[in-house]
């Protein structure tokens, strides 16, 4: 196995990969930006190198710096995690040039899948089912109008190099087309440095179901069941589960076989995910392939009993898959909650800052993949994902109750998180019945919250407790007394910002 590898990422996924390294006896090398010196990943890694300022473009997105550290630290391979450079074919290319193994697919496979339009073309050949739409980028407003008319409204505009919902626009009538196209193109340009946009038939309230595949370098490829990812906000996944409430054994086999066909058509290797749209008749259409480890990979690990990151290492090292398709058994049900630093009471605004108090759930059926700890400052520069809380149960109902219990225990102080949102989702009758689609969460958030009874016993306890806190901890500090720098390298900016922030919040709240 590899002796030493580099992790070109941060946050919970960097910690996840470091843990897999330790379990396999591989030395981990982490790179970090100035604001991540105290990150949990740096605490846990065997080696750590600063690669510059907070801005990702000058650190986590800078291939030259990462390859340089890889050379200096003498690693044999690089794991990109998700986000950042994970789907940028230039990284595997640079690795190849430097004689370092990239833990993921080849740059060719990545490039092909990275461009939605090129992917469509080759997948068509492989006989993969598709949502009707333009097989290539829109060259002009005129072409767009013609195609949309021909496909029929509503349609969806998508960035060819897009992902994570950026550069996507729904268009319900010809009148909306021009502005939608322009903003989609500008967002695509801003997000991916490529303004190519294509058009697809819009399937109203589809489900988003994806299939995990693993392909080794000896022509073996298996599917590990599906993940239901329909609970989304602004095209961002919020909660995922496996198996999907609507997928039975037969549909699982059919989707899995298509997914394997997709992977083979792209000569794909290592772990990948094939995303499908599923309509109300349970027809599924190929959406795209994600050429990396997914945020939500743990739900698949819990129902298959496998470790995907360890398997990624084995595949990259050239080992054949240790099992065949028929050895894969799905057992039980797993659900993942993505805990974000955002304020559900205030339009889900980002909520960076110091975590002053952290009480984490544990116990039966609970897995926690976290990048935070008490006393840590959540930086303002990066994605707000703090941790993933995953619940396993014998049945879907058990898994829901597990998570409700765990959320009951979970407490993050100092910053806002979306933990209350998950209490709402898991308690919703439609969710509990498995009646979810990509419109589910918006509908839920539009609902009125149940009326509040200001005379309940619990309210009296809350009032009494607030008074007791005030009487006994009048000016207890928000900081962690001893969690300061041994040297005076504490970033001053943070305090400054906090000061501003509090004033800002107070005034806007008026």
């Amino acid at each position: 196995m590899f002796k030493r590898i580099l992790i070109a990422n941060r946050g919970e996924i960097a910690v996840r990969i470091i843990r897999a390294c330790r379990e396999m006896g591989i030395e981990s090398v982490i790179v970090f930006s100035d604001v991540d010196r105290r990150s949990l990943a740096v605490r846990k890694a065997d080696h750590a190198y600063n690669i510059g300022p907070a801005q990702a473009s000058e650190s986590y997105l800078n291939i030259a710096k990462i390859i340089d550290v890889a050379r200096r630290s003498g690693v044999e391979a690089i794991h990109p995690g998700y986000g950042f450079l994970s789907e940028n074919p230039k990284l595997p290319a640079a690795c190849k040039e430097a004689g370092i193994k990239f833990i993921g697919p080849t740059s060719e496979a990545m490039e092909m899948m990275g461009s939605k339009t090129r992917a469509r073309q080759s997948m068509k050949k492989a006989g993969v089912p598709f949502v009707p739409g333009s097989a290539s980028g829109l060259q002009s407003m005129e072409e767009a109008e013609r195609l949309c008319k021909q496909i029929g409204y509503p349609v969806m505009l998508k960035a060819a190099s897009g992902g994570g919902g950026k550069g996507m626009r729904e268009v319900h009538s010809p009148s909306e087309l021009r502005s939608a196209l322009e903003s989609a193109q500008s967002e695509a340009q801003r997000s991916f440095g490529d303004n190519e946009v294509y058009v697809e038939k819009l399937i109203v309230n589809p489900r988003h179901v994806e299939v995990q595949i693993l392909a080794d370098e000896h022509d073996n490829c298996v599917y590990l069941g599906e993940r239901e990812c329909s609970v989304q906000r602004r095209h961002q996944k919020v909660l995922e589960e496996s198996p999907s409430p609507i997928v039975d054994a037969d549909m699982r086999r059919r989707m899995g076989e298509v997914a394997v066909r997709v992977a083979r058509a792209a000569h794909y290797t290592n772990a990948g995910t094939v995303e499908f749209l599923v309509d109300s008749e349970r027809n599924f259409y190929f959406l795209e392939m994600n050429t990396r480890l997914q945020v939500e990979h743990p739900v698949t690990e819990l129902v298959t009993g496998l470790d995907l990151v360890q398997l990624q290492f084995r595949i990259a090292f050239g080992e054949p898959l240790p099992f065949a398709q028929e050895d894969i058994q799905i057992r039980g049900h797993a659900i993942e909650c993505r805990v974000y630093a955002e304020d559900p009471d205030n339009n889900f605004f980002p909520s960076p800052g110091r975590i002053t108090r952290l009480i984490s759930p544990s116990g039966p059926g609970i897995r926690r993949d976290s990048g935070m700890y008490e006393g840590w400052d959540v930086p303002i520069e990066y994605d707000p994902l703090l941790a993933k809380l995953i619940g396993f149960g014998t049945t879907r109902e058990d898994a829901i109750h597990r998570l409700q219990r765990a959320l009951y225990e979970y407490f993050v102080g100092g910053i806002k998180t979306n933990i209350p949102l998950f209490r709402r989702i898991l308690g919703d009758p439609d969710f509990q019945a498995g009646r979810i689609d990509t419109g589910f969460l918006d509908r839920l958030l539009a609902q009125k919250q149940p009326a509040f009874d200001s005379t309940s016993d619990e309210v009296h306890i809350a009032a009494a407790a607030a008074a007791i806190f005030a009487a006994t901890e009048p000016k207890a500090s928000l900081g962690i007394p001893n969690a300061n720098a041994a040297t005076s390298s504490e970033p001053k900016t943070r305090q400054h910002i906090s000061g501003w922030k509090s004033q800002a919040r107070l005034e806007t709240l008026r």
Binding site: N346, P352, R354, Y382, G413, I468, R510
Partner: protein, 166 residues
């Protein structure tokens, strides 16, 4: 000790008396004898008769405070009735011109109104990008856009004035 405690917008009068090992506590008309102990900073274990409550205090740097009891989350504000300051702090109104301030550091990616436009309370006014998310800031009140203080593409700090609605 006497406090006015605002829970989810409803004000309760709380009278606290520290007993030998318990707190005598009167909330509005309700007398309670509470066995309350800290188990950690911001975490109280409270027993009332046989009922057990773990109350966690959630504080954000903005000064907001919530009481978490199990799955329930109550916004709470404690005022000392004798203190004028807190009175004033809570006595804010929506009269007069309102500033829309940047709630977080970020970049202005779109401005959705022009000066002199009429806007509804809650209408989208400006889009700011932070933590890789685009967020729409809404008008604090119904009125006229008096001034737009920033341009698209500008980087703003928390507290910067973005727009004034008259």
């Amino acid at each position: 000790m006497t406090y006015d405690v605002v829970i989810n917008g409803y004000t309760h009068r709380v009278e606290l008396t520290k007993g030998e090992t318990t707190w005598l506590c009167r909330v509005d008309e309700h007398e309670m004898e509470l066995d309350a102990v800290y188990t950690a900073r911001d975490v109280l274990s409270i027993l009332l008769g046989g009922k057990a409550y773990e109350v966690k205090r959630e504080r954000s740097l903005s000064g907001e405070q919530h009481m978490i009891i199990g799955s329930a989350r109550y916004s709470s504000e404690v005022q000392d009735p004798r203190s004028l300051r807190s009175r004033r702090a809570s006595g804010a109104s929506a009269e007069g011109p309102q500033k829309l301030l940047a709630p977080m550091p970020g970049k202005i990616v779109r401005i959705l109104v022009h000066e002199k436009d009429e806007v509804e309370a809650g209408q989208g006014i400006i889009v700011i990008e932070a933590m890789k998310m685009q967020n729409e800031l809404k008008s604090p009140k119904k009125g006229i856009v008096q001034k737009i203080a920033v341009g698209e593409g500008a980087n703003v700090n928390p507290g910067d004035t973005l727009v004034i609605v008259e």
